[in-house]
Symmetry: C2
Subunit: 336 residues, 2 copies
């Protein structure tokens, strides 16, 4: 499955910027593949790229309309259908990371059939997996985990892939969510897998490799999130990481989508080690990645220093300060 | 969805008795609904009920052939198709708890269409669930958990439902696996739910009820099983149990389907409390249910006494000695 680029990114009328994290992630890592954005009245997200009509996007060479938002439950609102049908009629394919299959909406299915356009449901998988086996595989693995959803797990993994490759370390980003699949063109939306096969899908995603090769695996959810912790645990067991990076957003007071406080970084480290030891007894924390955008630079540096000292681990904001301190720690602990 | 009874139970040629736990569970709890069993050459499981041909079963009133086995991965072997087609042609509906959809096998789909028979895939669900919310619901909940798969979680829950009802306590068994759904006619095969909705499905399964009503929820897998722990954790979070019963088989040396030792009962209690506190801070262990069939009665009593003393909890073998000690503890701790 290859999704034709470049993309026109559709944001619907989502209520906040976080809901557009799929589209924002694509822009962050593949901005050369995004001709612009299209939004409905009342949309509270903005990618800061060109605002285009469908006709303008087609004129700029767009080949696929990407439904680049993440709703709770992953449903496609009825009033978004018009833009999708218009895009199909203008000659675009459509790709979506929602749970709702594009083809399950009659108007969309009919338009795609009539116009000969393709519908990509990145979050769906018809692929068969085995159940997880828990057998140690060759190669090295890093998993990003978090105190919550939407705290930078994908970004941190992508930044580490880039940094390690720059240093000549063999590394591959392994996508476990729709945005990562859009970005890398490979992977599995692990929250869309049948529950029995979560760890098996993670084992498939990160097969045995050369001993000095790193799979940098995108984490999902949080062991402390009451909606998604099962996904997080199955991914942890299947990924069998040698090291993990804890991602955190220090100003968030409630977990995403539920009325509940965030766990501490220490709790996440502790439970990740405890559960991760099941499939990799040597699992250890590598460092901490913090989204410090709510702080000025001095506050951010002070916060990172305090977190680093409290846990005895390197801490950085990957967006603001890069991930070299995490790559340094990795190369020190795992010399080739 | 109502599956017509009585059943003819089909065991294929499975390699051991444990693989036929679905069929055995139906016999244990609804023997009046089972006319007999049918097996292929080499089958190592035996339910101890009448061995019938399809014609004999039809003559005894059978209405549904139940594919009553649980394979790793839940696949339907090709060489089982013949018996299923024969049953359809003899006028039986077919019900299966495997992942493979009966209708996905062309010969079976064709026969069902031609003969006007129905195919029930108990392990599949086309039902939509919300994501779990983690909000406390009224009513009381008991969840069975385990040191492994296939250690008596369903049996213990069914026995507790029966015992509590006998005592006049309002109680409902809540099925989370195919056997339980066959037995109770309700429930959800939670390992067949899309991963994002595990805890949401558990919340749906056990909705808010009267304050003194007990949902006795069938557990799945083990927090320590590398194939299925994600399912176990999502179920724990969604069930938000007030109490849990740990199920164990003391002579098993390796976990089911993987090369790995079992966790201790203490480890299971500890991790269940730690993870379960996320959605029910008051979670506590109620007791321990042990499958002692490998022991003689004196050994069984000695083992149960030692386990009870080691953990400060009542311990019983539900099959051998009943669950009155667990019901006693529940009524003592939760007087109405």
């Amino acid at each position: 499955m290859t999704i034709p680029q470049p993309y026109l990114l559709f944001l619907g009328d989502v209520a906040d910027q976080l809901a557009a994290k799929t589209a924002a992630g694509i822009v962050d890592w593949r901005d050369e593949c995004c001709v612009g954005q299209i939004r409905l009245r009342g949309c509270k997200a903005d990618l800061g790229i060109a605002e285009l009509t469908i006709a303008e996007a087609v004129a700029k060479g767009a080949r696929t309309l990407v439904v680049g938002v993440a709703n709770a439950g992953g449903l496609l609102p009825d009033h978004w259908t018009g833009v999708i049908v218009d895009a199909i009629e203008a000659g675009l394919d459509v790709a979506s990371g929602l749970h709702t299959r594009l083809g399950s909406i009659p108007a969309i299915a009919e338009a795609a059939e009539r116009c000969g356009r393709r519908l990509f449901d990145v979050r769906q998988t018809d692929q068969r997996f085995d159940t997880g086996k828990g057998v140690k595989r060759s190669g090295r693995r890093l998993l990003t985990v978090g105190t919550d959803c939407s705290v930078g797990k994908k970004y941190t993994a992508l930044a580490l892939e880039r940094e390690l490759r720059t240093r000549g370390v063999k590394a591959d980003f392994r996508a476990t969510g729709q945005t990562g699949v859009f970005i890398s063109g490979l992977g599995v939306a692990i929250d869309a897998v049948v529950a029995d096969f979560i760890s098996g899908a993670a084992e498939w995603l990160s097969p045995a490799t050369e001993p000095d090769h790193w799979d940098v695996i995108e984490g999902q959810g949080s062991l402390f999130h009451p909606s998604f912790a099962g996904v997080t645990l199955g991914l942890l067991h299947g990924a069998q990481p040698d090291v993990f990076v804890v991602c955190h957003e220090p100003t968030r007071t409630r977990m995403r989508g539920v009325d509940r406080p965030l766990p501490s970084i220490a709790e996440v480290i502790d439970l990740t080690i405890r559960c991760g030891q099941l499939t990799n007894p040597a699992i250890q924390p590598l460092g901490i990645a913090v989204n410090t955008q709510a702080y000025d630079e001095a506050e951010a540096r002070a916060y990172l220093l305090s977190v680093s000292q409290a846990h005895g681990l390197p801490a950085t904001d990957p967006i603001r300060f890069g991930v070299s301190c995490l790559a340094d720690a990795l190369q020190t602990q795992f010399p080739t």
